[in-house]
Symmetry: C2
Subunit: 100 residues, 2 copies
């Protein structure tokens, strides 16, 4: 994973509203949660919510699929896993075994 991509993803998660959205989606699981449900949960105007969701989608952390009038959003777990791996690999101590 490129440092730029990691930074972009963290910038998007680095906003309380968007992080709340993502966390809510995680609770909702793989089948996804309607945008309207998120709106009801977080209690913010649709246009604002839409804006935040599209940013999460833009960096690949959220995927969407429509069923009729309803747009379902689901977290892209693999992306978050990659991000966590980046942080562990690039930003943590790597102590060689039996040193200490």
């Amino acid at each position: 994973m490129q440092i730029k991509d990691a930074a972009k993803q963290m910038a998007e998660l680095g906003h309380t509203t968007r992080l709340s959205i993502f966390r809510y989606l995680v609770k909702g699981g793989r089948q996804g949660v309607p945008v309207g449900d998120i709106q009801a949960e977080l209690n913010i105007p649709g246009s604002t919510l839409s804006h935040h969701i599209s940013r999460l989608v833009a960096v690949g952390l959220v995927i969407q699929c429509r069923k009729g009038r309803t747009l379902y959003c689901a977290p892209q777990y693999s992306k978050l896993d990659e991000l966590i791996d980046f942080l562990k690999d690039e930003c943590c101590i790597h102590e060689t075994a039996a040193e200490d």
Copy 2:
């Protein structure tokens, strides 16, 4: 860890320059790296660098200690660990064993 704190820390890491700084500090290890070294490495004006470092310090991801004229910066690994744990606990799937 509070969601607000997690968001703040990610917002700070969510900037290529700051993430580069942090990663460079990780390479430098616990004893810390002089601000001047970071500046030489990243090649940005001192005032800009100082600004970014102080943001990382503000959220606890970096600590500083002065030795003479030189200010050493070091990553606060425990904070990043907490952040990673937050992501794993709050934003990943938690499949109960033997389900699948």
